[in-house]
C-alpha cells in the first residue's frame, strides 16, 4: 500500500506569516493534486501537477512538484484567515488502480 505523508499535521500561525506544507511518498506519482477542505464541506481542488519540477502559482499559493515526482510542497505567502482549512494532497500511482490516494492532511489555522 502506497502511503502519502503530509507534514506538519497541524499549523497555527498569525495573519501575514508565510508557511509551507509538504507531501511525500516513497512511490512515484503519475499526477498529484492539492485540495482544501473546510468544516462540513467536501474538498475543493486547488491545483493539479503532472510534470516533475513543475511550479504553479495561484495568487498567494505556490505549488511545487519534485523532480522525481515523489514529493510536493505548498507555500502560502502572507496567510489570511480565509486560508484556514484542511489541505490535502492526493496522488495517482502508475501501478495502482483507479483510486486517487489522499494524505491525512495539514490542518491550518490562521488567526487575525
Amino acid at each position: 500500500t502506497q502511503l502519502l505523508e503530509q507534514s506538519p499535521q497541524f499549523l497555527s500561525i498569525q495573519e501575514g506569516e508565510n508557511l509551507t506544507v509538504y507531501c511525500n511518498s516513497s512511490s512515484v506519482f503519475s499526477s498529484l493534486q492539492w485540495y482544501r477542505q473546510e468544516p462540513g464541506e467536501g474538498p475543493v481542488l486547488l491545483v493539479t501537477v503532472v510534470t516533475g519540477g513543475e511550479v504553479k502559482k495561484l495568487k498567494r499559493l505556490t505549488f511545487q512538484f519534485g523532480d522525481a515526482r515523489k514529493d510536493s510542497s505548498l507555500h502560502i505567502t502572507a496567510a489570511q484567515p480565509g486560508d484556514t482549512g484542511l489541505y490535502l494532497c492526493a496522488g495517482h500511482y502508475s501501478n495502482s488502480g483507479y483510486a486517487l490516494n489522499f494524505g491525512k492532511g495539514t490542518s491550518l489555522l490562521v488567526t487575525p
Partner: protein
C-alpha cells in the same frame, strides 16, 4: 443545483442496522468515487465507478459494504449490520473520465453523509 448531492446529510443508527447512503453526481460525469473520512484521518478510498461498472472495489473494508450505480448516474452505498467503527463521514465525488485510469481531472465532492453508529 449543479453540484454533487448526497443524502442523508446526517444519519444516526443503532449497531447492527443496515444503512443506505445516496450520491447524485454532476450530470455528464461518468467517473464516481466513494471515500470515507474518519476524525483525524484523511480520505480513505472505498470504490470507483466508471459508468455503471466498478473496476476498482479495492477499498471496501469488508463484505458488509457494497455499492451500486444505475443509469450511469445515482449511486448508493450500503452498509449492512453496521458497527461502531463504521462511524465516519462518507464522501462521494464525481469527475469527467479523461481516458486513462491514472489521469485525474478535478474531483467534485459532495458535502458528505455523516454516519453515527450507536
Amino acid at each position: 443545483g449543479a453540484g454533487v448531492s448526497q443524502s442523508p446529510s446526517n444519519k444516526v443508527t443503532e449497531k447492527g442496522k443496515d444503512v443506505e447512503l445516496r450520491c447524485d453526481p454532476i450530470s455528464g460525469h461518468t467517473a464516481l468515487y466513494w471515500y470515507r473520512q474518519s476524525l483525524g484521518q484523511g480520505l480513505e478510498f472505498l470504490i470507483y465507478f466508471q459508468g455503471n461498472s466498478a473496476p476498482d472495489k479495492s477499498g471496501l473494508p469488508s463484505d458488509r459494504f457494497s455499492a451500486e450505480r444505475t443509469g450511469g448516474s445515482v449511486s448508493t452505498l450500503t452498509i449492512q449490520r453496521t458497527q461502531q467503527e463504521d462511524s465516519a463521514v462518507y464522501l462521494c465525488a464525481s469527475s469527467l473520465f479523461l481516458g486513462a485510469k491514472w489521469s485525474t481531472g478535478e474531483l467534485f465532492f459532495g458535502e458528505g453523509s455523516r454516519l453515527t453508529v450507536l
